[in-house]
Symmetry: C2
Subunit: 237 residues, 2 copies
């Protein structure tokens, strides 16, 4: 129980020698469905296994810097929303110290998703959150946690708009909330609510070439940095 009585292979004795990895749950909203970027990996037996985008922390990198670099590597663009979830510990196969993952979640705008081309590796896929299978157990825990966090946070802040293009229709917003929260929302009540929040403003543009009345495009009435803190937003449906 006293300090300094542990094995000290590491230069920083007295400190633990846990292995640390950064894992990113990268979200995208496309075709009415919430998707996550998964990376294909072959294990020693040649079996295919999916995992979250991840990397270890490089010399000189901060932990959030590592997460940002993972995003840049897989997504190419660099206007994304990124926030830490928490640290996850799990038994190490090779050490008596737990392995540690620091989980992050990110959101990428649909319009930025000329991603398929940018991604260096073909072993990458956007998978609907409802259709994920073969994700390793440790990453499944992080994914589930990120979904819980995402659901909570889109209700108390405007971060959900990071999944939509710059210009969007009110119904797109509604479908986003319906999909992520797994609920049905009344259309007219949703419109009234979001409009009187003064959160979006009319861009004076309309849909074109749709086979029904064209919807107005709106854009978000808020700076990126205001998203998480500030402004009392309450999307309780």
């Amino acid at each position: 129980m006293e300090k300094g009585d542990e094995n000290s292979k590491n230069t920083a004795n007295q400190y633990s020698t846990n292995r640390i990895e950064i894992d990113c749950v990268i979200f995208n909203f496309e075709g009415e469905s919430l998707k996550v970027l998964l990376v294909k990996q072959k294990d020693n037996h040649g079996n295919i296994n999916w995992e979250l985008a991840n990397d270890c922390i490089k010399k000189g990198e901060t932990i959030s810097g590592t997460a940002q670099n993972i995003l840049k590597k897989y997504i190419g663009v660099d206007n994304f929303f990124l926030e830490q979830l928490k640290a996850f510990g799990y038994p190490s196969p090779s050490s008596s110290y737990e392995d540690i993952s620091i989980g992050y979640y990110a959101m990428v705008k649909t319009e930025d998703k000329d991603l398929e081309n940018n991604v260096f590796s073909p072993d990458v896929e956007w998978v609907s959150v409802n259709e994920i299978s073969g994700l390793n157990a440790k990453h499944k825990v992080i994914l589930d946690y990120s979904l819980k966090e995402l659901r909570q946070n889109i209700c108390k802040s405007a971060i959900g708009f990071n999944l939509l293009p710059e210009k969007f229709t009110l119904l797109q917003v509604m479908h986003l909330y319906e999909e992520i929260l797994g609920i049905e929302i009344n259309k007219s009540n949703f419109r009234r609510k979001i409009l009187q929040m003064n959160l979006v403003h009319d861009s004076n543009q309309k849909e074109e070439a749709v086979s029904h009345r064209a919807a107005k495009f709106y854009s978000l009435n808020m700076q990126q940095h205001e998203m998480l803190s500030s402004r009392e937003i309450n999307f309780n449906f």
Copy 2:
């Protein structure tokens, strides 16, 4: 940017050699004020410095296990609420890898606080959150984050009751919320709200020897494990 090209002093090469510490913000509600346990520490120059209860991860310990052991060491009792905040990174004085703190916050019931005696060290103090000074910068960040988290979580779950004795009056609950949220709450509206939530039940006991009308004691109508998940609680004042 490729894996495995970093310096590999550590046995676990390819993995980083960040130093990790577990920090605990331990809350207590006493005499109408929210307090935090701080530990006195002398730096190399003999100056007094306060820090959060902390330790490094011992061999064979999980990260949450380390946090629990910190609680046991400083508090003595072992029925406390404990939850992780997140991982914090900050520049290391001695390495090009960031140092990492995994922050936790804990709540200790007032009645369990025959703590002053149990605590092994005299260099420990309960300080009102409004009166904290001399806390080192890294721990200040964690403390501030824990307060934000605490404020959010007591509004959407019943975890705040972990700061109260088993039997409490409705006004005690109200004062707890007023103190933590830094607001004033209307008494009759608060009573109506909490009673119709069916969250507490009348214990058929009353205050004794008070120089005013004795208040009823209530107790929480919920199991510990239900606290965080489940049950739609909404303490929006």
